[in-house]
Symmetry: D2
Subunit: 348 residues, 4 copies
């Protein structure tokens, strides 16, 4: 098999983007099926992709003999069940974050993979494929700034659905920083803390929020989460080390001057900022499956070279600790399982 036949569950914004990206820009992969609870929407997406069909159910897609690998981009409550179904079907699966709605549900996925004896699940933490974060991590690892001591992160959106609670924001947006910062530092999170100024958004939601993650050894990560920041979508990250600092450069293709100002445009959502990360994530995932299928195990216990179920579980545990800190108003220790043997291999 030289081409991976992919089925995509969920044809909302993210699922449709993945279908488009695979069709236009991913080598050795093709979308062969899409499924959505809104069948008409699935059919409309499938109609644009030669060789793809709309299926009546996610389960049918997962079990289809014509599908080699599964992408889950449906609503958050379905992530856990569809991931478990994919593991049961023995198929590689790329699940959008969060892996499941609770850490406890993530544990079930860990156990299912352990039973299967193979890492099949990749979690959609695409920032690990963003060229900026990749360079940031490599430079930190190079030692050029000495030991990394602090990080300042900013994560701002134009707006979010009005019904999103403070907890939702931590569980579904903050998880990006919760995953990527330990990966950049090469250190686990051991404690968390939570702050918020007076509410910005109407209603009871606290927005902005500031999460503080303490890593093994003491380094501190400050994360500003501001979902109704209004002015634009923006991600920033600066790592402060003993001898210097490294930060993500601003992302822009052009600079303009008009009306008494020099200006760089900002995007209205995350997709332009991370389009290249998504492309690289998908290509890397496909390449890992091809390598696994060809028997090139490369010392890794499954067709996953990227963030796996363990990373999804860890992010859920840390996010839940933050939610606990939100309630208690003080620091909360991160308590998690010991890492199972299956997930130790190849982990830096």
């Amino acid at each position: 098999m030289t081409t991976i036949r992919i089925g995509v569950i969920g044809t909302g914004v993210m699922g449709t983007d993945h279908v488009e990206t695979i069709s236009k820009s991913i080598a050795r992969a093709e979308v062969r099926a899409v499924a959505d609870i809104d069948v008409g929407r699935a059919e409309a997406v499938a109609a644009r992709i030669p060789g793809a069909k709309a299926l009546s159910s996610a389960e049918a897609l997962i079990e289809s003999a014509e599908i080699d690998a599964v992408i889950i981009a449906s609503s958050n409550p379905t992530h856990g069940p569809y991931t478990l179904a994919s593991i049961a079907a023995g198929k590689p699966v790329l699940c959008e974050k969060p892996l499941a709605e609770t850490a406890a549900e993530c544990e079930q996925i860990l156990r299912a993979e352990e039973t299967a004896g193979t890492r099949l699940v990749q979690i959609g933490f695409m920032r690990r494929y963003d060229p900026g974060y990749v360079e940031l991590r490599a430079r930190v690892a190079s030692g050029e700034i000495g030991a990394p001591l602090l990080a300042h992160c900013v994560h701002r959106n134009v707006s979010v659905p009005p019904l999103w609670t403070s907890e939702d924001i931590v569980l579904t947006s903050a998880v990006h920083e919760i995953d990527v910062m330990p990966w950049v530092f090469g250190r686990e999170v051991v404690n968390v803390n939570w702050f918020s100024p007076m509410p910005n958004a109407p209603g009871v939601r606290r927005d902005p929020q500031v999460a503080i993650l303490e890593l093994e050894g003491g380094a501190l990560i400050f994360i500003e989460l501001f979902m109704a920041a209004n002015y634009g979508y923006e991600i920033r990250c600066e790592i402060v080390g003993e001898k210097g600092t490294i930060e993500l450069a601003p992302v822009a293709r052009t600079v303009s001057r008009s009306d008494l100002r020099v200006q760089v445009d900002l995007a209205a959502d995350w997709r332009p900022r991370f389009a290249e990360a998504y492309r690289r994530e998908l290509q890397s995932w496909v390449n890992a499956i091809l390598a696994w299928n060809s028997g090139d195990l490369n010392n890794v216990s499954g067709p996953v070279h990227g963030p796996d179920a363990w990373d999804g579980y860890r992010a859920a545990v840390i996010a839940e600790a933050l939610v606990a800190s939100m309630s208690s108003g003080g620091p909360v220790r991160v308590e998690s399982l010991a890492i199972p043997g299956l997930y130790q291999q190849g982990r830096s």
Copy 2:
């Protein structure tokens, strides 16, 4: 009198800079005397300034009939006593920060001024004269970003004397942000909190430190203090509001390219960064004295239009609360006197 005759106590780095600035760049003022416990150093400075002489004691300088106004730039323990002596002599005085070594000692200065019935003391919080901070404050006040919710401040030095403790850093360096941020927000500090990652500097000092100030109404100020940052001197400040953000622009006069990089040079200490602020501080102080002397009271209770003894006292109270948080490991409420009537006039 159309020229203010100034006496400068202390001819270290800061005092000598003030003498130079007044002589070269300040209208309607002249340095007539300098004093230092190192008499030879005072004589060397005086020799460069036509019309200036070195005096044998700070007290003699303060009481000299040839001196209209006093600048205190001597060691920190002398600030309180010399300020009190200047008040006793009825002379306007510009005292470098800190106003005194403890909040309690600052209270004595407040009481002395109240007794005198005139605000004579300006505290050397020069950032209030920095064109960047002035513009930042004006833009926040304009309402263009809506209510300000958060601030991110960075305060980094190349190095500090090895014997400086964490407490010294808060009491003598952090006071700049402690003073200027409430001034930018137009809100008082009500609570503080303190964090620090693993130590960077050798010995028991914690460095970097992160101070969190909570303002009335809930806005949060995050201040990274990093004294042995090694790479350069740098000050940053971003204000995050409901509708947008405003931050200090980088300070540089040229950009260069060489050796596979585009580069902006950083200074090794704070003086180039705030040279213009010091010049404006001194000119403003001289102008206020001239206006007071000419009977143009402008509704202000003394020859001080800038930060006064009350501001020096408030900064000391907040800094001491941070030191308490450093010990307790949790939030500390800022407890201070009610503002006396003398200091209410003209305060925004």
Copy 3:
């Protein structure tokens, strides 16, 4: 046919990059053959690509029944002959710039395509696929800066082979700006002019050089070409219009601070700067071939949606006018053929 089988002639830096890019990142395409006058080099490249073989001659590659489309990345003198051979074989061909060594030789290619009745040739002006230039052009076309009046371009390399002459630099490096700027402005070049300060490089070569292109209607393009700029590879372009300006943003993924400076790294050559442009160029070329093969003509007279033989010819004519200006020391009028009907279709 759902996958384009590509043969690559020339396995130097550029050819090898194309082979890698196609194998790792291009959908619906595969490299099936490589050819090089250095057979060992071709074999080494082919060995890394499953399904690819090294062929003994470029001609054999062009004529192979197993090759659908040809990439020419061999030495400049071979571009014309191999392009003509590909047209004779009826195969789509992507030829690295320059299209041929002289405008006269480019004319032969135009005639060959006219005879064939199909546009088969794309010229490797990858800047048209660079996201920065694409955005620059779209914004100019949007009218937001009014009529574009001027452009300032900078094209700097670390070094070039010592034997390159001033003419070589114009004919092989300046052609990028010569092609892309009329495309951005939507106007043809009618006059050229040439300047150079005192020589930088040793020997008789003039470096830097400044080319001035005058477009129809009068707009002026200033292009600094500096091949031995030493400090790094850098491309800049600012368009100045009646109401404002637009320029390419700096390209960087991280910013660092150390040793008293803030720094952005520069690349040592053009490949990192244009890696994404090459990927998009190749994917677009493959997509156009697939669309042509599937009968979706889209009103275009051949499997080429990008810069074609006419663009390669025009660049050669303008570059030769610049070389004439170099000799004459004054302005030179650009004289070219009228555009043949084959090339008019779909040209904006």
Copy 4:
């Protein structure tokens, strides 16, 4: 005498700014008289400055025994006559650019100074006092970029009076670059050339224009002059050397984010950009007069340490050559007098 008593001729924008700056920010100087053909305007300005009076004529001001030094900020045609009158009165004079309306008239001023045997005239080329240009020049002189080969200058205004001709723009705006660039390079201009795209402004005026200055040794200066650029006031300058480049950094005190953009504000005219340069120019001029009066000749033939009448004459000669190039459409050689002995002393 320890304070210089200054008379200011002309109370338009520039003259009023100088009066304000001297009064508020210049040590050891005071404005004692202002004159204007609009007497009411002069009286209004004088009324704001304690100790200053409005005089009925410029000549009376120049000859007044209460005036030590003269600033000429009246209309361009009066510059030459008032400068000559000041020389005749033996008084130091700071004349706004241009020194006179023609190079020939500037020659008369040179001869008057030679007859007086003293350099009394400073010309208001304030960019030589701008901290950015000062740093640019020092870094070029340091050799860090090797020999400087090229410069790219941009000089843009929001608008100019509709009746200004292309010649006016060269003679009164371009003179800033014409003066400062040879000063930065340490080389004289030997040839000039002139280009312009299609007109932007209505009427016959060509705008933007591009002036090319060739320096001794061959270095080339490209100057874009765009008077009706609409979008804002902006000055840029990049020096390209054998080993690297140095450019003026953008000037801004704050950066803001709102409405899907990151933005730096631009000024509507030149005054904020060069306010600090004007202050330093005035203080330096006052200091030079004080030093001259005190007999500290410092090897300079008069109370002028800045750009002098010779610099004003050279700028006029080069500007006139540019106007000749505008007519002839080709390069024009700069022909000037040999530098008289009076002006050689202290010239770098």
